[in-house]
């Protein structure tokens, strides 16, 4: 175990002393991030997120004050660039549209939604001013358009948060006034209805501020930043270069004689290969964390929940390392690894959404993107950028860890058939 660690540390040291590698590992993604940031207007007054025209279907079966308010939010002019809403009346038909990949998500506002939230006359008359549990709004998400679906869900969640905050504070105040005898039940009813209406049907502008935003733990609004998509996209693309560079070092060590020398020392093959894998993992992790730190420092980019970021980085590097090992196991020379690695870097970058948002890609590309660590990790980073936390990352993390595990087993099987010292 100690030797595995020592070999890994040695490889990190060697990687960070290689100027050519440093340029591709750190400088290239950083410069590309700046370039794409300029293109998207991130560094000017234009604050476009780079994500636009998300197709969403609104099925308002409530047709009452709150249902209409939510529908108005989706149709508001402030969200016109971000969303492309259509109205439906049939829940099943709307779900079918999602299954057919015609929209990112459908929002179904059930019948009785308003009534379940705004206190009724009988409730105040009975002294039971806290309404029954509200019926739930359904967001039926398209898994192949996870970013768009995530944004729609964030809008609905924020709307519900506002509704819930208003409902609790208003009913508590009115209840206290009524039980202290300062107002009659009839006055409470009138005040409750008015307060509920005021809160729930506030102008779209007052709620728009949170639509493409999410809230931090302390309630501050955080805008979804274009760089929150671009920076991880570039970092992930060049992460693929880093893992292929690490894989290449195994074959380079064989050619330069240090691998045979390791094999005649009292160090077993598992320790050596484990050390090489650990080195790739450490190098990739260091690269990602440096890029995250640098973009936070220089661009004031907020990556989101720190714990989520760290766990997602580890999972992404693990998944990418699996690919690096498979490439190394297939290739015969370090030059082959370099060529395959650079090709994979670009192909996965494109397929994984590093340049163009996956939702704007054909469905078969979206399907194949699932084999790339880029797509899953980018999905996770977008979720974090929208205010998600570690608990929202179960799907990408599970996918990345599974990917890394399967690919590692494949590479072990492939290595088993090769002679490590044969040139």
């Amino acid at each position: 175990m100690l030797k595995t660690f020592l070999i890994g540390i040695k490889d990190v040291r060697l990687a960070f002393r290689d100027r050519a590698a440093l340029i591709l590992m750190l400088a290239a993604p950083f410069v590309l991030t700046i370039g794409l940031g300029l293109v998207t207007g991130r560094f000017s007054s234009n604050t476009s997120s780079g994500i636009s025209d998300i197709p969403v279907i609104i099925v308002n079966l409530d047709n009452d004050q709150l249902g209409n308010a939510l529908a108005d939010v989706f149709n508001s002019t402030d969200l016109a660039d971000l969303l492309e809403p259509t109205t439906g009346s049939d829940s099943e038909a709307a779900r079918k549209s999602i299954d057919e990949d015609k929209a990112a998500a459908v929002v179904i506002i059930p019948e009785g939604f308003t009534i379940s939230i705004i206190p009724q006359q009988s409730d105040f008359a009975n002294g039971n001013v806290v309404a029954a549990d509200p019926v739930k709004i359904e967001v039926y998400a398209n898994p192949s358009r996870s970013t768009g679906a995530g944004i729609v869900k964030a809008i609905v969640d924020e709307f519900l948060n506002r509704v819930e905050e208003g409902r609790i504070s208003d009913t508590t105040s009115i209840e206290q006034l009524m039980f202290s005898g300062r107002i009659t039940p009839q006055q409470a009813l009138a005040a409750g209805s008015a307060a509920s209406l005021d809160n729930q049907t506030a102008s779209p502008a007052s709620t728009l501020a949170v639509k493409i935003n999410s809230s931090t733990a302390n309630g501050d609004a955080v805008k979804f930043d274009a760089l929150a998509y671009i920076a991880p996209a570039m970092a992930l693309m060049f992460l693929m270069y880093t893992v292929s560079y690490g894989g290449r070092s195994i074959l380079a060590e064989r050619a330069q004689g240090t691998l045979p020398r390791l094999l005649v020392s009292p160090t077993n093959t598992a320790q050596i290969l484990g050390g090489k894998v650990f080195g790739i993992f450490l190098t990739g992790t260091a690269q990602m964390l440096i890029l995250i730190g640098a973009s936070s420092l220089f661009f004031q980019l907020k990556w989101g929940d720190p714990l989520g970021v760290i766990v997602l980085v580890l999972a992404a590097v693990f998944g990418a390392t699996g690919w690096g090992m498979v490439i190394t196991a297939i290739a015969r020379t370090s030059a082959q690894v370099a060529n395959i690695g650079m090709s994979i870097t670009l192909i996965f970058g494109i397929m994984g959404g590093s340049f163009i948002n996956l939702e704007q890609m054909p469905s078969f590309v979206q399907m194949f993107s699932k084999i790339t660590p880029n797509a899953w990790a980018l999905d996770g980073f977008t979720t974090l950028g929208l205010g998600g936390t570690l608990t929202d990352l179960s799907a990408p993390i599970l996918a990345l860890v599974s990917m890394g595990s399967i690919l590692f087993l494949v590479s072990v099987a492939l290595f088993g058939k090769k002679n490590l010292v044969q040139k």
Binding site: L6, R13, L14, Q256, T258, P260, V264
Partner: protein
């Protein structure tokens, strides 16, 4: 003395190609044993098998009581290896290289630091220890390459042609280091295709050719195989046909062998003085100008020539 290494009928095949053909020999504790043979003779393959890098096709070897096939990890703990090609991390300093390799040989803490300092002193690179290896000259790199093999004070050190491609000064330093190590009690297996190195360093020599051990013994024992034969080395002009001259000289009475390498012709004969005049005459007859002639007493070159009909450098 007891044998620290015993090789028993070692065979290594690569498909139809037989790289090592049933080699057997032993090395006594405290001696320098040289494997002498031309390029491609099987020296590096043999040393790679003995150092547990390759598994033999058949046969076995025990080193310090450990079998290379059954207990390779036991073998690795008591041997040191200095490979023919440099096997270092050029982006690390000499000290960093030595520390890393020491850790791979289970050294740690103060004992590692102390040992690294000792080895740096031994290879004369204490002042350059913090420079990256890629900034070193070829000779300095060779010294670090040797230093790595010494870190854990192995009982048996394998050195595979450590002087190939370096300047005479560095070569001299390496040969002196080998002798020093042996004087300190270390046993060495040294492979070379330079007869002079084998003669200078070795207590015993094994001559290997085409994967077979064709002779083994002390230098005296080996030269006795060619009797009292002497060797004439004829240095001829660059444009002269050395092959044709060698073929002609074989006809002279008293000449045992005649071979040509580059612009030299080696003539093994019973008595140099008896054939010298005839050799010069034959050369003149062919219009070949002899620039100089060396007369050598029986040596390993002559032994190899006697046994194989070829020069070591063929």
């Amino acid at each position: 003395m007891s044998a620290i290494l015993q090789v028993q009928n070692l065979v290594k095949n690569y498909g139809d190609f037989k790289a090592v053909k049933g080699v057997s020999f032993s090395i006594e504790e405290g001696e320098i044993f040289s494997l002498l043979g031309p390029n491609g003779a099987g020296k590096t393959t043999t040393i790679s098998i003995l150092s547990t890098l390759y598994m033999p096709t058949s046969g076995d070897t025990t080193i310090g009581g450990h079998s290379i096939t059954k207990d390779p990890m036991g073998v690795r703990g008591i041997i040191g290896v200095v490979p023919q090609d440099l096997a270092l991390y050029e982006d690390l300093t000499a000290r960093e290289n030595l520390i890393f390799w020491g850790q791979m040989y289970n050294l740690s803490g103060k004992s590692l630091t102390t040992r690294v300092d000792e080895v740096l002193e031994q290879i004369g690179l204490t002042d350059k220890a913090k420079d990256r290896v890629k900034t070193y000259s070829g000779g300095m790199k060779r010294r670090v390459n040797i230093g790595v093999g010494l870190l854990h004070k192995p009982r048996l050190l394998f050195m595979d042609e450590p002087t190939v491609g370096i300047d005479p000064q560095s070569r001299r330093a390496i040969l002196d280091t080998v002798k020093d190590l042996n004087n300190q009690g270390m046993t060495l297996l040294y492979t070379t295709h330079y007869m002079e190195e084998a003669e200078e360093l070795s207590h015993r020599v094994g001559i290997i050719d085409h994967g077979e051990m064709i002779a083994i013994g002390t230098q005296k024992e080996l030269t006795q195989q060619v009797g009292e034969a002497e060797t004439l080395i004829l240095h001829i002009g660059e444009n002269d046909d050395s092959e044709a001259l060698a073929k002609t000289l074989k006809d002279i009475q008293g000449v045992q062998q005649a071979t040509a390498v580059d612009h030299e012709v080696s003539v093994v004969c019973d008595e140099a003085e008896d054939v010298l005049a005839a050799v010069v005459t034959k050369a003149n007859d062919r219009g070949i100008k002899i620039r100089s002639i060396d007369i050598r007493e029986p040596n390993l070159e002559a032994v190899f020539l006697h046994l194989t009909g070829r020069a070591l450098r063929d």
